[in-house]
Structures are given as structure tokens and as C-alpha cells.
């Protein structure tokens, strides 16, 4: 009971902070900040070096895609939704395509489902390695960052070989995939996977033995699971608290019913456990890709369907690298969607991350905030921190005292 009370109080503080700002000890973090490659704004209120309050302001990467999707046809929409995010672009197109497929009753060929699994898992490896490299960057360990990004290029090369592109793959289409696997791909995949297995084992050793990394990540960002679960986090953030929840197992899609992922959990709920869970997932992905490429069935890669989609509400979700990615599609029988709603993992996780930060020091901010692997491009489709310089500090400080929320509105307009 008391725990619930304290959560409620803490939440009230967070949300009250969204409206009223206290000028003392306010440190802006973003929207353009070296730690975040993406623009989002966190106001961090400090007492010395201790964080007492984190106030997110999201919307710096909002573009209005949900509205734009409504003006595209079903096929055009696939290419738009995958440009919501450059890191989990295949997850977006896959989630959209599966939601539409759930409305149409057409079967996806078995070979296409296997290919989807391979690309989705390659993307997971790429995303997790990218994130781990950035953890190195955030903790000031540039060497680790460079090494991991070098190894990540192997995955990108594979993705390029199969789909023809490094980032935006444009590969999934309704009831299948757009191209078949190239020849000799099996050998390339096996070579790359052998190399990656070796490297992942090495990184596992590094993060669990290198003292400077351990001091920066062990026990950092601890949050009580009972409190956190009420904030509805998803993905590795939820799994690091001991909840065995993974869309790939709970609601199998693609070929996950035949090649079952091994869901790893931890009960430490700190940044180190997040790293270990993600590395374990990379290993598991390697295993699944190898299983899929050896057991891949032959056959067609897509079926031809009419350009309209029957009336109805479709719901679909996939396990993107960051967690559950949810799509809601409403069709009225026409050649374009009436409403597409996208809930990205980052929007679900951001509240938990701000709770995790409280009580830590400023030095932990980049590690914890990015520990959830934020993808603000995703969140802001519909939704990061502030590098205001000293000269504005004094102006805004005055304004804060005087106007509270008024300042907030004006700040968007911007005063020099």
C-alpha cells in the first residue's frame, strides 16, 4: 500500500513538473545534446549532483506520420511507416503488414515467413550492437564503441546483400516479401554469424569484467518491479525486471512458432542486466538465424491480392528490438487506411526511465536514459533534451520564475 502511495506521489510530481518548473538547479538535457543523437528534451532538476526530478518534453521529432498514412494507399503506406524509425525500420513495416494481413485472410507463404524471421533477427542484432556501442560512447569508452560498430558493419552487409539496402529495407510487403534470397546467402550468413558469435562472447567478457564499465552500470537505474509494471514498460526493460514477456512467444508471428526464441530474463533490473539481456538476445538471434537458413522451405515468396482491404479493425504487434511495437489499423474497405495508430516501445518506456533516474547523479543520466534504448524518432512520429547556452540560462531562469508554463510556450517560439 505504501509502495503504491509513493508511486502515486512520485508520478504526481513528474506530471506536475510538466506544468510547473522549479528554476533552481535546472539542467537541460537536449534537444541537441552530444549524448543523444536524437532531439528530445529532458529538464533535469538537481540538488548538487543528485537528481530529484526529470521532466520529459517530447515532440521534437514529431512529423505527423499518422495523418500522412491516411492519405496513402496500402502499398505506399508501408514505405512511409518504415521511415518512422531508421533503426527498427523492418519491425515497423512488418507490424503494419501483419496487421493488414490479419484483416485480409490471405495466407503468407511459409518461405516468406522464414525470410521475415531472418531479416527481423538480423535487425535485432544490428540494433542491439548499435545500442551497446553507444553505451560505450556514453560511458566515455570510445574504444568499445568503435569496435562494436565495426562488427555491426558485418550485419549491415548481410542486410544489404538480402534486401538491397542498409537502413530502410523496403522489404516486407502485404502477404510476403519483395525479393527472394540471393544465391549463396547461406555461406555468407554462416561466415558472419561465426564471426559475430566470437565477438559477442568477447564483449560479454568485457562488460562483465572491465571495472570502469561495471562501476558505471551495476546497480544503476534500479527500480522496483512492482512499481515499474504499473507504468507498462515493454521489451528488454520489462524482461530485466523478471517478467518473461516477449511478443515472439506470446503471440507468434513470422516463423516464430517453428523456431522458438529463448526468452532471457533477469531480476537485477539495472543497466548491467539490460546489457546482458541484450547480448543474450543477440546470441539467441544468431542461433535462430542459423536454424532458419538451414531449414528454409522452398516455394513462393508472396501471393497476389487485390488492392483493397476488407472493412474492419486490425490489431497487430511485433517484438521490435526495443520491445512491443503495436499497430492499430482501421479499414473501411477502400484502397487506403482510415486510421493507423502506432504505439512505439519508446513511448511506453519513457515514463519508467524517468522514474529510474530519480536519486541518481547527473553522470548516470546518459547511461540510464539511453539504457532503455530510446528511439525518439519512433516515439515522436506522433513524438529527447536542451543544449541551451549560458546566456539563455539567465533569461529563462527569470522567465521561469515569472511565467511557469507561459515560458514553456514561448520557449518553443524561441527568443534569442
Amino acid at each position: 500500500m505504501s509502495r503504491d502511495d509513493s508511486l502515486e506521489k512520485s508520478l504526481k510530481e513528474t506530471t506536475a513538473g510538466l506544468i510547473q518548473y522549479s528554476p533552481e538547479g535546472l539542467v537541460p538535457f537536449g534537444p541537441v545534446h552530444p549524448a543523444l543523437k536524437e532531439p528530445e528534451y529532458f529538464k533535469i532538476i538537481l540538488e548538487g549532483e543528485k537528481i530529484v526530478q526529470v521532466i520529459p518534453r517530447i515532440g521534437y521529432a514529431h512529423r505527423g506520420i499518422e495523418r500522412a498514412v491516411q492519405e496513402r494507399t496500402w502499398i505506399q503506406a508501408i514505405y512511409l511507416v518504415e521511415r518512422i524509425c531508421g533503426i527498427c525500420s523492418f519491425s515497423h513495416s512488418l507490424a503494419f503488414v501483419q496487421t493488414v494481413e490479419s484483416l485480409t485472410e490471405y495466407e503468407v507463404p511459409r518461405r516468406a515467413r522464414y525470410i521475415r524471421l531472418i531479416i527481423a533477427e538480423l535487425e535485432r542484432i544490428h540494433s542491439h550492437l548499435l545500442w551497446l556501442g553507444l553505451v560505450g560512447y556514453w560511458t566515455g569508452f570510445d574504444t568499445l564503441f568503435m569496435w562494436i560498430w565495426r562488427d555491426r558493419e558485418r550485419v549491415l552487409d548481410l542486410i544489404e546483400l538480402i534486401t538491397g539496402n542498409r537502413i530502410h529495407k523496403s522489404y516486407a510487403t502485404i502477404t510476403g516479401v519483395r525479393r527472394d534470397l540471393p544465391e549463396n546467402i547461406e555461406r555468407h550468413i554462416q561466415d558472419a554469424m561465426r564471426y559475430l558469435t566470437e565477438r559477442v562472447n568477447f564483449y560479454k567478457m568485457v562488460v562483465n569484467s572491465e571495472a570502469t564499465i561495471l562501476t558505471r552500470t551495476k546497480g544503476i537505474g534500479w527500480i522496483s518491479p512492482d512499481v515499474a509494471v504499473k507504468l507498462c514498460p515493454v521489451g528488454p526493460l520489462l524482461r530485466c525486471m523478471g517478467f518473461k514477456r516477449d511478443v515472439r512467444v506470446d503471440d507468434p508471428y513470422a516463423a516464430y512458432d517453428e523456431i522458438v526464441p529463448d526468452v532471457k530474463t533477469s531480476t537485477d533490473s539495472d543497466v548491467l542486466s539490460l546489457i546482458n539481456i541484450r547480448l543474450a538476445e543477440v546470441e539467441d538471434s544468431i542461433r535462430m538465424i542459423l536454424e532458419a537458413i538451414t531449414g528454409i522451405p522452398t516455394g513462393p515468396i508472396k501471393t497476389t491480392i487485390p488492392r483493397t482491404v476488407p472493412r474492419g479493425d486490425g490489431m497487430g504487434h511485433v517484438e521490435a528490438p526495443r520491445g512491443e511495437l503495436f499497430y492499430f489499423v482501421r479499414s473501411e474497405g477502400g484502397n487506403r487506411p482510415v486510421r493507423v495508430k502506432i504505439r512505439t516501445p519508446t513511448l511506453a518506456n519513457i515514463l519508467t526511465a524517468t522514474e529510474m533516474l530519480k536519486g541518481h547523479t547527473l553522470a548516470d543520466v546518459p547511461v540510464v536514459l539511453t539504457g532503455m534504448d530510446p528511439c525518439f524518432g519512433c516515439m515522436d512520429r506522433l513524438t529527447v533534451i536542451d543544449l541551451d547556452k549560458g546566456k539563455e540560462w539567465q533569461i529563462t531562469g527569470e522567465q521561469l520564475r515569472k511565467y511557469g508554463i507561459e515560458w514553456y510556450k514561448r520557449n518553443g517560439v524561441g527568443e534569442k
Binding site: 508511486l7 502515486e8 508520478l11 504526481k12 506530471t15 506536475a16 510538466l18 506544468i19 517530447i58 515532440g59 514529431h62 505527423g64 499518422e66 495523418r67 490479419s102 509494471v229 504499473k230 507504468l231 507498462c232 514498460p233 514477456r245 506470446d250 503471440d251 479493425d313 490489431m315 504487434h317 512491443e324 503495436f326 492499430f328 482501421r330 482510415v338 486510421r339 495508430k341 504505439r343 513511448l347 511506453a348 519513457i350 515514463l351 515522436d380 506522433l382 513524438t383 508554463i405 514553456y408 510556450k409 514561448r410 520557449n411 518553443g412 517560439v413
Partner: protein, 152 residues
């Protein structure tokens, strides 16, 4: 399945439950929404709110609360009048709903009573013209909005 579910909601009137594949749809009155969500979290023990969707259906705005349990989506669907889009907030039951409600407030102009983020923008820029309809309403004219925000 639906019958056993229905028995859980015996304290509410006007409730309709249907099932289609892995989607369970519970249609509820707007006034009962807090009660319905409380039953789902307390009696059924489902805590994972996936998201809240708002759809502009012309005269009404349809709000769908998507919960996920085991193998099913549990959708609580309610419809409110577009002329007075107000509904009570479920943040006291599911604290994680804050941002989802604020998003719908931004995008469709629905006011959630009890949500503390109702007088600030979550996603939209602060220059968004206040007299224009929110962007996901059917009557919103994108070109007009762009002109008003000096983007042309």
C-alpha cells in the same frame, strides 16, 4: 469465454462482449470506463495497457483501450460525442496511461478529466494554432495548418 468474461462485468449495464480471433471487444458506456478498467486490472489481473487509440468517426470519437493478456487483446471500446469530447482519465488505475491519454488529447482534442497533462502539448509544437482543429480530426485541413504555422 465471453460468458465467463461477461459474468465478471455484472455490476455494469449496457456492456457488450464479442470475440474475433484473438481480439476480445468490450463495448462500454463512456461513464463506465473507469469501472470497466478497474475490473480488468483488479478482477482479471491484467496490468499491461498496450495503448489507447482514438478514431474520428465523423460525429463521434471512438476511444479504444487495448490491453494484452496471455494470448488475447482485450479492447475496451467507447464512443463519445465530438461536440463535447470529455471522458474521465484512467491514470488512477493504470499510471502508464498518462502519455497515451495526452497523445489523444493532442491529436483529437479529447479532454481526459483527471490527467495532469491536459493543459500542455505532448507532441505538437507550441506554435500549433489553437483555433484550428487537432490534426487527426477529419475536418483538419493540412494545408491550412501548414500555412498558419508559417511552414509554406
Amino acid at each position: 469465454m465471453t460468458e465467463s468474461l461477461l459474468s465478471k462485468f455484472d455490476e455494469l449495464k449496457n456492456i457488450k462482449i464479442s470475440k474475433e480471433r484473438n481480439k476480445i471487444i468490450i463495448e462500454a458506456e463512456p461513464d463506465d470506463i473507469v469501472k470497466t478498467c478497474r475490473i480488468i486490472t483488479n478482477k482479471l489481473g491484467i496490468h499491461h495497457l498496450v495503448t489507447i487509440t482514438g478514431v474520428d468517426e465523423g460525429e463521434k470519437i471512438c476511444i479504444i483501450y487495448h490491453f494484452w493478456s496471455e494470448k488475447n487483446f482485450i479492447n475496451v471500446l467507447t464512443k463519445i460525442e465530438k461536440t463535447s469530447p470529455r471522458i474521465s482519465s484512467i491514470t488512477s488505475i493504470v499510471p502508464g496511461a498518462i502519455f497515451y491519454e495526452a497523445e489523444i488529447h493532442d491529436m483529437l482534442g479529447v479532454f481526459f478529466e483527471g490527467n495532469p497533462m491536459m493543459n500542455s502539448h505532448l507532441l505538437l509544437p507550441d506554435t500549433y494554432p489553437l483555433d484550428m482543429p487537432p490534426p487527426l480530426r477529419k475536418e483538419a485541413n493540412i494545408e491550412e495548418i501548414r500555412r498558419r504555422m508559417n511552414l509554406e
